[in-house]
């Protein structure tokens, strides 16, 4: 018999589709596993489960903990338990996502396995650098060290040929972003009522749009995506907003690295400088807390600065920041629509109506991110039991996994970064001027709005 060999046809999906499929599957899996492990004891009690239901998946992933003088301290958690295995499994999740991406994207999984293991190892190294106590408590987050590690190794040691197929930085970021959608809960937007809505929904978009417009038209920075990423990380919430909007407007990795570097540098300064300034101005703790929450980029830094002002200011600051955090979904969607419908359309040939072109160019993984966000927001708002289910899933598993994926993505970006492309823009100092100018506007408008809403208009006349 003359058998004819039929070549096996590989599945070859677009990277955006693969990231969306893998991201959504992971969110669904996490929700299902957490739901099956619903606690029998008071499942609707926030006091009993402050961070949501414990999920069994938490045992499969963790990251190095803070350490002082020996990195070996990093494998012990706060209770003194050895967490070496969950850390190794965290790297395993990165490897699994890389292999899944390769298989669905039509690449050879075997070819990228050694490189992906190296990327996961470097991501662990970046987490270890970020976990040193001085670095950790001054808010120098892991993306900075992941980028630095990648840049140093890429430029000093070089990128070996076996490592190249594994440099899937954009894919890791896109998949992480879809998973991140589960944490972006629209229901949180109304947590502080009308004063919170006015402080976040009014000031943040104004600062974002004005800063972007000044970057493009006044400072004449050649890259619109650089202006957008700087404006978003400064006005919304730092690194996470930079990642989401950078993906929505397809910013170059060098632009994202620059925006993150600027954000982290000024976050440290503001975290240390703002509490004494608030004390010196003699601001009311509620107004001071709202000012901190609306202006300092990073969430952790807001809480740290709020803590040094006192309990009341700290609680208000953290809640205002959480409302801003929840705006990422709306902002990323608006940026993706604007880019697809206007910026890209102006740059390329026009092939149809505005709506049709916007639909064609809209990044598919942003749709996945929004879907995860909408579904989790809806589930969260149904009942207190559901809210604890969603919180347990996100705090116990999905936030950790997207952290590992972002970290691996930044390592890949660092290994591929060519800062020479940005040298002319950097030398002009215009990105720095844009950030500082935008942040000054943010400081003035947020203080004005917080004083009007929290300090006067919605203040109860008789205080206890």
């Amino acid at each position: 018999m003359n058998a004819t060999a039929i070549p096996a046809q590989r599945l070859r999906l677009h990277e955006d589709v693969v990231a969306t499929l893998i991201g959504l599957s992971i969110v669904l899996l996490a929700l299902a596993v957490t739901s099956l492990a619903r606690p029998a004891d008071e499942p609707a009690s926030r006091a009993r489960w402050p961070k949501g239901w414990p999920t069994p998946l938490a045992a499969t992933i963790d990251k190095p903990q803070t350490w002082d003088s020996s990195p070996l301290e990093a494998i012990r958690d706060k209770q003194g338990r050895n967490i070496a295995l969950p850390i190794v499994l965290g790297m395993g999740w990165v490897l699994l996502v890389a292999v899944g991406g390769a298989v669905l994207g039509g690449q050879s999984a075997a070819q990228l396995l050694p490189g992906s293991a190296a990327v996961a190892g470097l991501a662990c190294g970046a987490y270890l650098l970020a976990a040193q106590k001085l670095v950790h408590f001054y808010n120098l987050e892991y993306p900075l060290w992941a980028l630095l590690l990648g840049i140093v190794i890429g430029n000093v040691v070089g990128v070996a040929p076996w490592l190249r197929p594994a440099l899937m930085g954009e894919f890791f970021i896109k998949t992480g972003l879809v998973i991140f959608g589960a944490e972006v809960l629209f229901s949180r937007l109304l947590e502080l009522g009308l004063p919170g809505v006015l402080t976040s929904w009014v000031v943040t978009p104004i600062v974002l749009v004005v800063t972007y417009w000044c970057g493009v038209h006044v400072l004449k920075i050649p890259s619109k995506s650089l202006c957008m990423v700087i404006s978003a990380d400064m006005s919304v919430c730092g690194v996470s907003a930079a990642i989401a909007t950078g993906a929505a407007c397809r910013a170059k990795k060098e632009e994202l690295s620059l925006a993150i570097g600027l954000s982290l540098f000024f976050t440290v300064i503001m975290m240390v400088a703002m509490p004494p300034v608030i004390d010196w101005l003699g601001l009311d703790p509620i107004v001071g807390g709202a000012w901190l929450g609306g202006t300092i980029d990073a969430t952790g830094a807001v809480v740290a600065a709020g803590e040094s002002l006192g309990k009341e200011a700290g609680e208000v600051a953290a809640t205002v920041k959480m409302i801003q955090n929840s705006m990422i979904g709306v902002i990323a969607f608006a940026v993706a629509v604007y880019w697809a419908g206007w910026v890209d359309r102006e740059a390329g040939p026009r092939q149809g109506s505005l709506l049709a072109e916007a639909g064609r160019r809209f990044p598919r993984f942003i749709a996945g991110f929004l879907l995860a966000s909408l579904v989790c927001s809806w589930l969260f708002s149904l009942s207190p039991v559901n809210a604890l289910w969603i919180d347990g899933t996100t705090t116990g598993f999905t936030s950790r996994l997207r952290g590992w994926l972002f970290c691996a993505g930044f390592v890949c970006m660092g290994l591929q970064t060519n800062f020479r492309e940005l040298t002319p823009v950097l030398a002009s100092g215009r990105p720095l001027v844009l950030y500082v100018g935008g942040q000054l506007l943010n400081l003035v408008l947020t203080l004005a709005m917080a004083s009007v809403t929290f300090g006067w208009l919605f203040r109860k006349a008789v205080e206890p």
Binding site: Q132, K133, I153, G193
Partner: protein, 71 residues
């Protein structure tokens, strides 16, 4: 210079800064005070998003006695 030698130099460089210099700086009075205060308050200043905080932010109950949330 061979890549493995360069890699070793990078590792030594990072180890010298992270295991030598940073622990020394961490003992400066104002740094030690900042870290002590953060640890005592259970604050995670490195949180990128609110889900990474040690305590999830919730609207403080006292706020509704001082502020009209929905007029």
């Amino acid at each position: 210079m061979r890549p493995c030698v360069r890699l070793l130099m990078v590792v030594i460089g990072f180890a010298a800064v992270w295991c030598g210099m940073l622990p020394m700086l961490r003992r400066l009075d104002f740094v030690a005070l900042h870290i002590e205060r953060m640890e005592a308050g259970g604050v995670n200043p490195a949180a990128m998003y609110y889900t990474e905080l040690d305590r999830l932010p919730v609207r403080p109950a006292w706020l509704e006695q001082r502020i009209v949330l929905w007029p």
